[in-house]
């Protein structure tokens, strides 16, 4: 991959080649069992998130005429909650929160983690020692506990929750990329570039980075799933999204107090989290199988 990029003589050739490879990758991924289901669900959740205003049947924060705790029916497909808001509309708007939390927090973790991992893995020595000690420190906190503590010190709100999740997920990317960078550093084409006088930043960007993208992509899709769970957990504990806005986690927080009278309230937001996370995991595994040739040969082992 890196050899290709480095030797490409014309831009056109490179672009056509990349597009072909991307198409091949996509079709191979979709042939993995369950990947089609995963992609379909993720696409639906994305659509709901983007077009929530158009799709949701009611205003998610407004009390409806049906009153409180109305059972699922024709007017309100998933019923109404303890203050009479339409559950379906709140789940649809909750998709926006989940997608935002997943993408923004993992985007943050990826940017910082990949940078740290590349620097530590390629430069080695003291830089590696210092950076990885810091990474290992964050790594030793239980994810949810550290996210909880950071979110609490930043104050409630979705943005703060996303920062907290991003910080907590950074070590996973840093450790992954450092390991990859360490092994790429010893390869002949990197040595050749170094001997030819390429600057470290150029070697990192042009030679090392393209070789770590595949595991980073796989890791991202799995981490987005985790981020959605952690955001839901923070909101469930009262630290994520602020009322009256809905997150799947905050909906569960309110719902489980009405478990005896309205069990359906606890059911649907949970299904939303479960199915979304499940689909992202399946998609991540399918990508891993496609991108890692060793796994492909071994089948699903």
């Amino acid at each position: 991959m890196a050899e290709f990029t480095a030797q490409a003589s014309t831009r056109d050739w490179r672009e056509t080649n990349q597009r072909k490879r991307l198409a091949a990758l996509l079709s191979r991924t979709l042939r993995t069992r369950g990947a089609g289901f995963g992609l379909a669900v993720v696409s639906i959740v994305l659509l709901l998130a983007i077009a929530a205003d158009l799709i949701a049947p009611y205003n998610p924060n407004k009390m409806q005429a049906a009153g409180i705790l109305a059972s699922p029916g024709a007017a309100h497909l998933l019923g109404t909650d303890h203050i009479g808001r339409d559950v379906l509309s709140r789940i649809i708007f909750g998709a926006r929160v989940a997608v935002l939390a997943g993408i923004v927090s993992v985007g943050f973790a990826m940017t910082v983690g990949v940078t740290v991992g590349l620097l530590a893995g390629y430069l080695g020595g003291l830089v590696d020692d210092i950076l990885m000690r810091l990474v290992d420190t964050l790594w030793s906190f239980p994810t949810l506990v550290l996210a909880l503590a950071i979110a609490a010190s930043l104050g409630p709100g979705l943005i703060n929750a996303m920062i907290a999740i991003g910080v907590v997920f950074t070590p996973a990317f840093a450790r992954l990329v450092r390991g990859q960078a360490l092994s790429v550093r010893e390869r002949d084409f990197v040595t050749a570039a170094r001997v030819l006088g390429a600057k470290p930043w150029r070697i990192i960007l042009v030679h090392v980075w393209p070789n770590v993208t595949a595991p980073v992509i796989v890791q991202s899709s799995l981490m987005i799933a985790q981020a959605i769970i952690v955001e839901a957990a923070l909101s469930f504990l009262g630290l994520g999204i602020e009322p009256p806005n809905a997150s799947w986690g905050s909906m569960l927080r309110q719902a489980y107090q009405y478990m005896d009278r309205a069990p359906y309230l606890s059911f649907f937001p949970g299904v939303a989290i479960f199915v979304t996370v499940l689909s992202l995991n399946i998609l991540g595994d399918a990508l891993r199988l496609t991108l890692d040739p060793r796994l492909r040969e071994r089948g699903s082992a």
């Binding site: 810091l134 906190f141 239980p142 994810t143 506990v145 769970i229 089948g299």
Partner: protein
């Protein structure tokens, strides 16, 4: 082995130091004034008492000095007093820790009792129907959030069937069986993800080991498949499983926060959540510190066990 052990422990020390810095920094950033929290509602306008309280808590000192004092006291077992209950933090933690440890031990036991046999069965007949069922359950088990699983279990087994208590804790000193009953649903909620991850790991590493040449030789000599798996393959296949379980200790602590909240268990996780809402800074510091150090120790033990089981690690 000794050299490996020393290297690992030498790495452990600076990380522990940095953990204390992070814990201290987080509580420093928490909104609110600890001195005001200690004074209580009635005395917030009493300037003299306020300054005296700041002095007593060491808040009049520069931040590095505050950190130094905190660490020096912590090393001697003094983590301060709880803002909420006024009890020493260490005593509060001591009362809560057994509950969380019991929950984690039961979650681990349930997870392993299911995961190891299920993983072996899947690996013995890969791509069979039973393996397919195992795979689906494992993928589902990883994706289901602990708090939703807990709510579902309460609804099914407590509200609907009425077999188990919906919440609350019974200490083993009251009775072993009532205690286990009170912890059963929480332990299943907490252990589900661990169960799924372990099952997958047992399956994949056993499949890999079964492809080795020494297994083919044993099979060629006419050894029965059962003896092959249990006498020859399983021991080697369990090496990576140990690591996976060790790495999940942190996840169990994290999960205990939501699980203990749902099931109203008086453990460390619930204490972490409560400390945040009651702005109980010293208690939060204590909980987070104890959890992080426990995870570090668990990781260290995992590494050592791994090195003991797999000689290639300690000599490389």
């Amino acid at each position: 082995m000794t050299q490996y052990l020393l290297r690992r422990v030498a790495y452990f020390v600076p990380v522990i130091f940095l953990v204390t810095v992070v814990v201290f920094a987080i509580t420093l950033l928490l909104p609110g004034d600890p001195a005001l929290a200690f004074l209580g509602e009635g005395n917030i306008h009493d300037e003299v008492a306020y300054q005296a309280m700041r002095k007593e808590l060491g808040l009049d000192q520069p931040v590095p000095v505050q950190y130094g004092l905190w660490v020096a006291r912590a090393v001697q077992g003094d983590l301060g007093r709880s803002v909420r209950t006024r009890e020493p933090v260490l005593e509060g933690l001591g009362a809560r820790l057994p509950v969380t440890l019991q929950l984690m031990a039961m979650a681990l036991a349930i997870a392993l009792l299911v995961a190891i046999p299920a993983g072996i069965i899947s690996a013995a007949k890969p791509n069979s129907k039973i393996d397919g069922v195992g795979t689906v359950l494992a993928i589902g088990g990883v994706a289901i959030p602990e708090f939703w699983l807990g709510i579902l279990l309460i609804y099914i087994f407590a509200v609907w069937l009425g077999w188990l208590p919906p919440s609350g804790y019974v200490s083993p000193s009251v009775g072993l069986w009532p205690s286990i009953r009170s912890m059963l649903l929480p332990a299943i909620s907490l252990g589900m993800a661990l169960n799924a991850v372990t099952m997958r790991q047992v399956r994949s590493s056993l499949i890999e080991v079964l492809q080795h040449e020494y297994i083919t030789t044993a099979r060629a000599k006419g050894l029965a498949e059962g003896a092959l798996i249990f006498r020859h393959a399983l021991k080697n296949a369990m090496i990576p499983v140990v690591t996976v379980i060790g790495l999940q200790i942190g996840r169990l602590f994290g999960g205990s926060v939501v699980v203990e909240t749902i099931f109203a268990l008086p453990g460390m996780g619930r204490l972490a959540a409560d400390s945040i809402f009651f702005r109980d800074f010293p208690m939060l510091q204590g909980v987070v510190l104890i959890m992080a150090v426990s995870v570090l120790i668990a990781n260290l033990i995992t590494d050592l066990v791994y090195a003991y089981l797999d000689p290639r690690i300690r000599y490389s």
